[in-house]
């Protein structure tokens, strides 16, 4: 069970010697078992915030505490370990390896996790493929799948190392209404299963599924 806390988060870029503030005085708390929707206009810093929570970026000033630990102070290798153990990512563009099959894509994050040996990795992969209803497609390559199916593979991959936190950046941005509903339902069921799910979305549908909507 993870708890995320953001304290006085500020993020600014310097472009052409001019400071551009992306995020200002952000104070937020995220808890396990809930689905959070982050909404806002383009350029409001939604994706930046998600990347900071996911330890892929950092605040100019401020703290991000995950289970009480300030992740910004961590060394790069420790942040990598934290991502592997606790965070799963889902992207708008899916970012599947086009030269790997469905099962190879899902298996990829598990190779660096010591808790899986070859057998348990295979078993977990099969279970995840089953969870996202893609068993007949396990040997298929991403280009042979529809957008909705690719996003389900990406969700299964995000769950590979059993993370407590799922970060989804516009997960339904490239999907039709039916697949959008399916993906939101899937994310909602993950939050009900005890995970902390944070979704950045432009879609007004997020309000129907989120326990809390944060406007930036």
């Amino acid at each position: 069970m993870s708890k995320i806390e953001i304290i006085d988060g500020n993020k600014e870029y310097v472009k052409n010697k001019e400071k551009i503030k992306i995020l200002e005085n952000i104070n937020l708390k995220f808890e396990s078992g809930k689905l959070y929707g982050i909404v806002g206009e383009s350029g409001a810093g939604k994706t930046t915030l998600l990347n900071i929570i996911g330890t892929l970026d950092s605040f100019t000033s401020g703290k991000v505490l995950i289970d009480g630990q300030d992740v910004i102070q961590l060394k790069e290798d420790d942040r990598a370990r934290l991502r592997m153990e606790k965070i799963g990512f889902v992207f708008q563009e899916f970012y599947l390896n086009p030269n790997m099959t469905v099962e190879e894509n899902i298996e990829q994050p598990m190779f660096i996790n010591e808790k899986y040996d070859k057998t348990s990795r295979r078993e977990r992969t099969s279970k995840l493929i089953e969870t996202v209803n893609l068993t007949p497609r396990r040997k298929h390559f991403p280009k042979e799948l529809s957008g909705g199916e690719q996003q389900r593979v990406a969700i299964a991959r995000a769950l590979a190392n059993e993370p407590d936190i799922i970060l989804a950046d516009e997960p339904t941005g490239n999907l039709d209404k039916e697949n959008e509903k399916r993906i939101f339902e899937m994310l909602q069921s993950l939050s009900k299963g005890g995970k902390c799910v944070i979704v950045v979305s432009h879609s007004s549908k997020i309000e129907e599924y989120a326990d809390q909507v944060i406007k930036l």
Binding site: R81, R83, M84, Y95, N99, Q108
Partner: protein, 270 residues
């Protein structure tokens, strides 16, 4: 993990083009490594053939029976100082192309050595008999300078071509490897997101590069052997003894260096 990564790299169609390029480059590289031994062997064969034929001719002349064959040439050396009249007579002998006089300073004493250049070494016997008739004794001079000169020139050209081809092959392979890694940028980012450490990602990239280069090397050697057999062995009828240790070492360097350099590009520094 490596198995999946390598499968993924080999399934990537753009990498097939790079592997094909490696095949060609490794074939060229190994041809380049054979050029100098080939030139050496070619001239050894010429000299051997030349000496053997000259020996056959000289066997007809009893006085030269014991002369070492590698000291023979189409040049006759006359150590006795000639008069102007003798010089004119010698220059008028059929098959004599020119007469050259070399002055050597031996501890203060000037020694004149005359070289008679013939149009063909086959005419050695005829010219030597004419010299005998004039009361001038001659002996075969050392190996033909023209052969030595052309050998030296061609050897220098071969050396230059060899080094150029090695450098060009190495540079092209380095550029290809860097491009392969640049094309993997998306996957590198993904691995970073999954929590792979940089050292692990570098290790994966290194193994991927090495795999592609080794595939290129294997097919490149096959292509080289085919070219060698058809062009050198069959057409020129020369068998070259390569320095196997040097060839293995250079091929190994050309595999390891680009692979090592390619994993240290900017994409991994962020």
């Amino acid at each position: 993990m490596m198995k999946n990564q390598i499968k993924s790299v080999l399934r990537n169609k753009s990498n097939i083009i790079y592997i094909f390029t490696f095949v060609i480059l490794f074939a060229i590289l190994n041809v380049a490594l054979t050029i100098r031994p080939l030139v050496d062997q070619y001239f050894d064969n010429i000299v051997e053939e030349y000496s053997n034929t000259l020996q056959t001719q000289l066997n007809k002349i009893s006085s030269y029976e014991n002369i070492k064959i590698d000291e023979l040439a189409k040049t006759i050396q006359i150590s006795k100082e000639l008069t102007d009249e003798q010089k004119t007579e010698i220059e008028n002998i059929k098959h004599v192309e020119r007469l050259e006089i070399q002055k050597i300073d031996l501890e203060g004493e000037e020694v004149h050595i005359q070289y008679l250049y013939l149009d063909d070494w086959k005419n050695f016997e005829y010219v030597n008999n004419r010299l005998d008739a004039l009361g001038i004794s001659g002996s075969p001079a050392v190996l033909d300078e023209q052969i030595l000169e052309s050998y030296s020139t061609i050897r220098n050209i071969a050396n230059t071509i060899q080094y150029l081809l090695i450098i060009v092959s190495l540079l092209v392979i380095i550029v290809c490897c860097r491009n392969i890694v640049k094309n993997e940028q998306k996957n590198i980012k993904l691995l970073q997101i999954f929590g792979y450490k940089k050292s692990k990602i570098k290790q994966i990239l290194f193994v991927e590069q090495i795999t592609m280069l080794i595939i290129g090397l294997i097919f490149g050697i096959v292509l080289y052997e085919l070219l060698y057999f058809l062009l050198v062995h069959e057409m020129l009828n020369i068998s070259v003894e390569n320095n196997a240790v040097m060839m293995v070492a250079i091929n190994a360097i050309i595999i390891l260096l680009p692979a090592f350099l390619s994993i240290h590009i900017k994409t991994l520094k962020s």
